[in-house]
Symmetry: C2
Subunit: 843 residues, 2 copies
Amino acid sequence: MLWRDMKAWQIYGANTDVGKTIVSTILCKALAKRAPTNGLLYLKPVSTGPDGEADDKHITKYAPDVLSKCLKQYSQPLSPHLAARLDEPNYEVNRRVGKLGTADWTLLNRVKDTLTRHHKEGGRYALLETAGGVLSPGPSGTVQADLYRPLRLPVLLIGDAKLGGIGTTISAFESLRLRGYDVQSVLLFDMPKWGNAKYLSDYFSHHSITTLSIPVPPERDVDAMKDQDQLAAYYEKVSSGGVLTSIVDMLHQNHFSRISKLTSMPSHAESVIWHPFRQYGLPQNVIAIDSAYNDHFEAYNQETDFVTNQPEKPISGLQPLKSTTPEAPLLTPFFDASASWWTQGLGHGNPNLSLTASHAAGRYGHVMFANAVHEPAIDLCYNLLSTIQNPRLARVFFTDNGSTGMEVAVKMALRATAKRYNWDDHNGEIGILGLKGSYHGDTIGVMNCSEPSPFNAKVDWYKPWGFWFSPPEVKLVKGQWQVQFPADGTMPRETGSTTLFPSLNAIFNFEAREDDAVFYTDYIVRSLTHLTHHQKRKFGALILEPLIMGAGGMIFVDPLFQRTLIKTIRDNPQIINPAYQSAAISRANSDPTNWSGLPIVADEVFTGLYRLGRPSSSSFWNAASSSGPEADISPDISCHAKLLTGGLLPLALTIASDSIFNTFISDSKADALLHGHSYTAHPIGCAVANRSLDEMRTLSESGITGASQPLQDSMGSWDGYRASWTPADTSISSQVHDIFSFWDPHFLATLSNHQRVASCISIGTVLALTLESVTSGYNSTAAVSLQARLMSDLDKHGRGVHSRILGDVIYFMTSLETSMEEVKNLQGTILKALDAELEAQRS
Amino acid sequence: MLWRDMKAWQIYGANTDVGKTIVSTILCKALAKRAPTNGLLYLKPVSTGPDGEADDKHITKYAPDVLSKCLKQYSQPLSPHLAARLDEPNYEVNRRVGKLGTADWTLLNRVKDTLTRHHKEGGRYALLETAGGVLSPGPSGTVQADLYRPLRLPVLLIGDAKLGGIGTTISAFESLRLRGYDVQSVLLFDMPKWGNAKYLSDYFSHHSITTLSIPVPPERDVDAMKDQDQLAAYYEKVSSGGVLTSIVDMLHQNHFSRISKLTSMPSHAESVIWHPFRQYGLPQNVIAIDSAYNDHFEAYNQETDFVTNQPEKPISGLQPLKSTTPEAPLLTPFFDASASWWTQGLGHGNPNLSLTASHAAGRYGHVMFANAVHEPAIDLCYNLLSTIQNPRLARVFFTDNGSTGMEVAVKMALRATAKRYNWDDHNGEIGILGLKGSYHGDTIGVMNCSEPSPFNAKVDWYKPWGFWFSPPEVKLVKGQWQVQFPADGTMPRETGSTTLFPSLNAIFNFEAREDDAVFYTDYIVRSLTHLTHHQKRKFGALILEPLIMGAGGMIFVDPLFQRTLIKTIRDNPQIINPAYQSAAISRANSDPTNWSGLPIVADEVFTGLYRLGRPSSSSFWNAASSSGPEADISPDISCHAKLLTGGLLPLALTIASDSIFNTFISDSKADALLHGHSYTAHPIGCAVANRSLDEMRTLSESGITGASQPLQDSMGSWDGYRASWTPADTSISSQVHDIFSFWDPHFLATLSNHQRVASCISIGTVLALTLESVTSGYNSTAAVSLQARLMSDLDKHGRGVHSRILGDVIYFMTSLETSMEEVKNLQGTILKALDAELEAQRS
């Protein structure tokens, strides 16, 4: 809702009865002087009370050259949430605090349409007046500042000039701020007795906000005609006065400043920022994100902006994109289809997380964590352990991101192995075992845990320390789920290179895949024996990304292969350390949570915490028949980040078993795990993570088997997704619990049969397509072209899709709150774009 | 303000005139039934209006068995900030939004004293009633929720039952939350017409807060006697009713839960947390931090708690500590003397930072930064570049903490060197140059940048890649500033091992130290030539922590030595790369910001951003005579974290010159800097950092030469510190600008002459003491004992000091806002503890 040639503001009141409509009338009259005929719209989306007393009628009466409109007038002078219920008993009640319901979106879309139409018809100004105070409920019960947040119009806050009004005005301001609004100005009546205007003017100057006093309106006169004349004279005088002129000038100025700042951001970024993962020698389109809400960015896309940019050839270097007209809105909503690098879970601009963050900030700021503890950290530990339900894990170590979390995991695992096997040395002899395509972060220590790739080729201190198996991969090809064996021939598979499955679910039915398990075990034993016995190599850990290797190209690994790797290493410690023959025997008699063979590290940074539909992605390794997590298969160390804070801010946890923890205990400080970042366990991160885990758990719970009082919008919100993935195969006993995706299986089948698509994968919120392409892999431009098209070909609501690519793979990811309707819409957009690509290719 | 046997609450109103005093009276009467005689105190700290109408008189009338007290009664029925000015024209006006002024502290201490005395006299309950609404101003103008924040009493929020009251009640709640308060319950009158109680009950249940309805009081009767009787009957009835019983039960329950949760935190931590840098085989006292404000933690110290712990021998394993009595407060304020691992700058629980964080959270959440940009990131880049004023630095790269920031710096520098010198290889041949005692973080890549030490001895993949000079050190010994040359004999110093200086300032007067510079140059040239020409070693970067190497033991390096190292390497590239003779010549003709010899990396993570009194700690390398930063001496890459966000949450920036940046430009993606954490440039961190830089700049500015309208409390707040460090030496021309400390020079002299102190250092906010000890270094217990004493020997205000040690070094650090009075108090505490240590040693 931002145009170059139309200015729109939202009027909020610090409380009810602070004179919002009077100030709106003054503003309307002042703006009307500068507007063309029919150029100014006064919009009251919701009004309560008798029609004759309605605010829009007041405007019509005293500012007749203003277009005045009310979208919904309720008859009773009550709060809209009560008034709506009286007039429309079935009006939807929204019970999701901080999140919009269906009725809210309907109302909001009417507001959007009204503003858009006004603009199209030559409108130059719009004033949107709310009802009551900032957090007064709207018709559905959603508080207004939440209800109108997706518009994020610049706000004029009408302050309270009476006794007590200082406090209510500042509180109202704070409620707006924590929902991401920008307040342009505070306006209030000039009542010197209470001194509010003077005080607030000083106070808000610390927030660079101008406070302005408006003369008090005349006392009400019993003579209606006289009263009307007095008021008209008051309006005429005040709206022509110097204060109003200066307000209007300031509002104009702010509008142009905002646009200028927004549209110059990409070029400012070019001169001062060093973007991650960006090759500055190649053309690149940088978008300027103005704000974000739920699944969407509101962003300025320089590549499609007509005014600042009239490129013959757009920056992306691909086919010319459609330029917008100068009248087009400057901000485009883009679906955040990379979930902002896989972090987003509970929606951008979530006011519950914002309030949680600010409470921790206000209570603690950051406080020391060495030999100290605080409530959010303790609560988070217990919450996470009960969420992931791994029978081995017991101790929680805090760091700041997945990379540092994995550095800690590596330090833990290597020390445990080196100590048990007496391999103490610093010659880099101890490597790790992993899979080809793995990636564990950008710090050099964990880069060394992956095989050579373009990511580490130019990192001077990179040194591959380990051995990596080529994994068998799960794919959907031409409607057929299958496991493909590595193309590099490392795995001798006599029966051919692919095994077919009737469903994705069937791939997880390990009991039915006994033959595959035997084959994998044999292959793993032989490979490892060769490495350790013949090549005399030493290993310190098995590190796996459960199910999907993200950065490596969204490689969906056969879970049975990962499961078998773990089992084989645990059952055969003598293969890892030939000098340690007794371990296999001693293990049976000892603690079943003790690590065996090698510490098993699960890097759940991307795949964990509901990204794939389950709290822990290691749980996909469990057999279908096991009622709960299998201790035998559970990792000894697991690492969690990204979704941990619901998508708000950095925090990582590395969790270890007691057997790992005990390795570091001695009477020497030097044996401790000497690792700890300054902001270790920062209370804001812990508090937000704690709240996020609660909200994510609620979302994931089935409504059918859920709590006794399900809230209609939040409980069971994934049941639709689950239902669509229930296999048609009626032999229920062969099904594995909770294998599903947010993406529809019929859509996947269509996709996998598309001529532009070589194969695809999907589970949980993730969808990835490998595109057909003449040049495959990293040099392919097939994905680049599709990615650019999704940004520029907007849907009927004017929305685009912001996606990320990895070579010839393009992927899409929802948050945990994305609705079925939204997913369906996205699916349509993706298919349409693929068709257009095909068309372009043909012509 | 937390006792086992006394419960205290604070009553806040959602607005003025919501019935706070009526509800308080009801609560008083209900609580009085359970309290012993004189066991319940009603405290109204500030009241306005005629004495007869005062709230405390109302309580006395209707709840006569309650002790009722008002600390300050102003005569006019106005907001206290106006009423105070009328009665006491000189009452201090506080202009620092969000921060307390002197008058606020005076009032607050009176409240504390009153509550403490009440408790001592057998009090079991206290209700503290505020005036007006949550953010109504107190007498100084400070809003009440800020004014009383240091008490952080559990809050009972009296909601507004009238039309509009839903919004004002929720906003009031949010204002309390973002200041760190815990709201126990929301109470409001039962006025079904507006439906507020019903709505709020549902709303607050999402925050696990109970909302309770109170019957509406009787209408006022014109007959005063009748009115009084009606009201008394109302109070009697309501206070005995079921709702009040359940409120009181809940409040009791919450009190015990809070204490139980608080006191069990240390043992919960023992079972589930893996603390950083902690050896679990050694006894350790873990404190539970309940909250923090400005420089202090409010913490539960299990080691001095009488009830849960009656140890014959305390956990620390040292001399028995004083146990407190069961009546002692459970929370002790501890000065956060490590500034929470060197992060703290603008005070714990700073409401301005809290509001800034929540606004960014509400506007964006986190949004993608790859090929995208947002306002807080752009603003921060420009703000930081103008703050540090380094003529070379141009490009800002974002990561999450100092360690990852330095990983990026290392990647940048090594690539630049390897590319220019054609040293492309992965054999780990390219090392770094640095100083012994350096430390750059806990990730393995940057651990490899430091020489072997206890920190990396047990990190299996640690490999020291470089050469480290033993640095000459600055120390204050027996009142004498000096430079001590390395004890290891690496630096041949004919004239003896120590050079004396009349002041700290004189050490920075490089022009007067020409001989030292010549000596250093000669030594460096010979050492490097030996390494590169004879040993054929390759180096990729010079990495320095300007001035103080923190983790290495607060080693204060002679700045002239660091300056000379940089100059020597820049002037003699042929020493670094014998095959690159032409560089010295070509350099003069090329871009003066191009790197020469080696990229110079400044690790300012600890020392930068005002920690040592200056925006950039690299600026200490500049010559006294240079009017601004010297390009010749400025680093090519610098890294900033810790104080960057004012002490609130993790964020790091690595800034590079264009000559470094250009290294990564090509037409191949694989040549880019392929580094980027998920939450790169998270908007909350950027927004908070931006605000923090502004606040820190204001604090650092001199009031004398400052802006035209200095605010008394913020501008020039360091002038007192600066003045005390102006050298007595009158030859002004020899003085270097802005060499000062928050610690008094006379105190330092006393300290350095103390029998327990071997030497000390201080600059900016940092003070470090090396203690005299039989066993020196890492195994010394001298510092442990002093550290424990500072925790247990409380000062006359009942406050302790929480400090951190590094072997036989104990250090203390203030925030950037710590007052001279607070520093003076700390200085006294430190000297007293040292004396007590001496006494204990003698006996």
